[in-house]
Subunit: 247 residues, 2 copies
């Protein structure tokens, strides 16, 4: 299983991913799902992957080969075109593997989040589907998720706003969303990879990997749980229309 | 879609359900999913249903017919046996409808939560699967959900404890869990039905139905969102190991 999340606010982008991968419940290992491609001062890409690890590895291999030979993401004129490059490679891997997988009733499952900035353009954030088509994050829907998306979503719906959420706050929301998912699904787990990209940086200044026993991860887990309990206590009791002795 | 939730704590039981039902995205209506069967001073049952409305209606019809003729839940010697009665009716409906449904690739989908108390026995809470077998809530897993379960789960995992969560608090957690789910999935919606059952009552003292514009629902929605945002602000900023100018 996997949980990856990209957030777009007025100030920039935040990316977060877990690192647990499994083939069945009894074969669990660690794998990095956050990748960066950077030409400092010119272009920055962050990619997050979910789905079959074999497929996402193939897509990333093709993308990096192109990039290193000065093609694909290295020359894409916009993040939209970069998302199209990713989609092209997803389709290329589809041509290689989809038929053989589907013959054995295995879905062709690879989802990719791509975000970044090129030159003076605004930062953008996309999700690329297994069919290769891209979806853009918008001001109304300022985040994109792949993998185990539901546990970590309510906190984002309540709190994230494109205009008003600061980048520091967005990083906290990302960690809480990851922590909520790890709490409820054991197949999503640390290390957590996190990148905070401030618009205009055109390099990766803020990146960290939080291991299972990392102090920050433990602190946010404990403080958040305590804050939630206090918040519940601060709410008024439910009033029941009933027989006099109702609370 | 549906979201129903049962909670068991030391002090008693809480039940909550939404009321939205749909056949496809373009046919949405309202339907009560919380049902009570009570012999005051003797036995109390609360049932929550999800899945195909046709199937859950059939199961409830059979259960109520039995109950009114003094059989089934009216005489079950324990909540475990009552859960078995529910499972028997699920299987009876399975004999009636499963083959015809599966011929058209429609799953036989009906899930039921049953909770209550009989005489001086402890209150108990069960989930009955479409196959008719029952699952009991435990002190370690003090809640059971059916339907759209994931959005509303993180808050329960963080906050609910069998020994220490009061019944008033459990009712608040139930409303927040419902509200989180309604926020993230438009196919789960009000009115919200809520029952709070205190161990030993042997009748329904605390029940309410909160409509879409109900003040309590709006209050908890607004106050909870504000409390969450404040809680996020109170957390320390994420520290990135990076190039000097990191936050």
């Amino acid at each position: 299983m996997t949980y990856c999340l990209g957030i777009k606010t007025r100030e920039g982008l935040v990316f977060a991913s877990d690192s647990r991968t499994n083939a069945g419940m009894d074969q669990v290992s660690i794998c990095r799902k956050l990748h960066t491609l950077v030409q400092p001062g010119e272009r920055v890409f962050v990619l997050l992957t979910s789905g079959s690890l074999s497929l996402s590895q193939s897509v990333m291999t093709l993308l990096k080969d192109d990039y290193q030979s000065g093609q694909g993401l290295a020359t894409a004129p916009s993040i939209y075109e970069a998302a199209r490059c990713v989609g092209d490679q997803v389709r290329k891997v589809g041509l290689l593997d989809r038929e053989a997988l589907e013959r054995d009733q295995v879905a062709f499952n690879v989802h990719i989040i791509l975000g970044g900035q090129i030159g003076k353009q605004d930062p953008e954030l996309y999700l690329i589907y297994p069919q290769g088509n891209p979806l853009r994050a918008t001001q109304d829907s300022p985040y994109l998720q792949i993998g185990e998306t539901k546990y970590g979503r309510p906190i984002l719906d309540r709190g994230l706003r494109f205009e008003s959420t600061t980048l520091d706050e967005a990083a906290k929301y990302a960690l809480i969303s990851l922590d909520s998912t790890m709490r409820s699904n054991v197949l999503v787990g640390p290390p957590v990879d996190l990148v905070m990209y401030r618009a205009g940086d055109l390099c990766i200044r803020h990146q960290c990997r939080l291991a299972e026993n990392d102090t920050q991860l433990l602190t946010i887990h404990t403080m958040w749980e305590r804050a939630l309990r206090q918040a519940v206590q601060s709410l008024p009791a439910v009033r029941f229309a009933s027989s006099g002795d109702a609370t």
